[in-house]
């Protein structure tokens, strides 16, 4: 798992991951890129991350992938990421395509629901919490 300040250099990251696994004999490599869309007058999105829990979440996914003979990868931005650039990339390597296709789906969806990352719209230089697009994590409301 990698955290980068600002926009991700997607080509560098995907190229490096591909090089790392060049001789691993995986038959499938499925990358996913999340790009910031220009909408609602935003200049950028901005992200806060709580790394200790994100690392644990990712390590659990790495274990799930390992059981299937696969590897999951991810990189995310911290701080401001301008529109039309990327804040999130992930990928799955696996011996066969079916495992990789299913795993990238589950991995990205669980990422959206349970990775401890908070998103803000940046408008006129101001950071506004994207509350309406955010999802309570599993177990939310315990202390209510």
């Amino acid at each position: 798992m990698e955290l980068h300040s600002g926009s991700l250099d997607t080509k560098e990251i995907f190229g490096r991951w591909l090089d790392e696994q060049a001789k691993s004999n995986y038959g499938a490599y499925i990358p996913f890129v999340g790009t910031i869309r220009a909408e609602d007058g935003i200049e950028a999105l901005s992200f806060d991350i709580y790394e200790p829990i994100l690392q644990k979440w990712f390590d659990e996914w790495q274990e799930r992938a390992k059981v299937l003979g696969a590897v999951v990868k991810m990189a995310h931005s911290v701080g401001d990421v301008p529109v039309h650039t990327s804040s999130y990339v992930s990928a799955v390597f696996s011996p066969r395509r079916r495992v990789a296709l299913e795993l990238i789906d589950e991995f990205v969806e669980d990422f959206k629901a349970n990775a401890p990352i908070w998103k803000y719209d940046v408008k006129n230089g101001e950071r506004i919490y994207a509350e309406d697009r955010s999802t309570p994590m599993d177990g939310a409301g315990l202390l209510k």
Binding site: G34, I53, N114, A130, S134, M137, G139, A140, L143
Partner: protein, 73 residues
């Protein structure tokens, strides 16, 4: 003492409280007016592990994290 930290957009200064279970933490946090809009949608971690049981026993020096709704990507 138990340290309670508030992550992401909550923007509240960390607190130190006396508590022996998570249920005690709930009672203390409900007294904080500025948390009124947050508690029903926040998840909880104890020493960086997610927890889901109010009877969880706490010990001196434990760290509780309050995690508001997330949106990565």
């Amino acid at each position: 003492m138990i340290k309670v930290e508030f992550l992401g957009p909550i923007g509240k200064t960390p607190m130190e409280i006396e508590a022996t279970t998570l249920a005690d933490v709930a009672v203390k946090l409900k007294e904080e007016q500025e948390l009124g809009a947050w508690l029903d949608k926040c998840a909880v971690a104890l020493n960086d592990t997610m927890v889901n049981d109010l009877t969880t026993v706490l010990k001196d020096g434990d760290k509780i994290s309050i995690l508001p709704p997330v949106c990565g990507g």
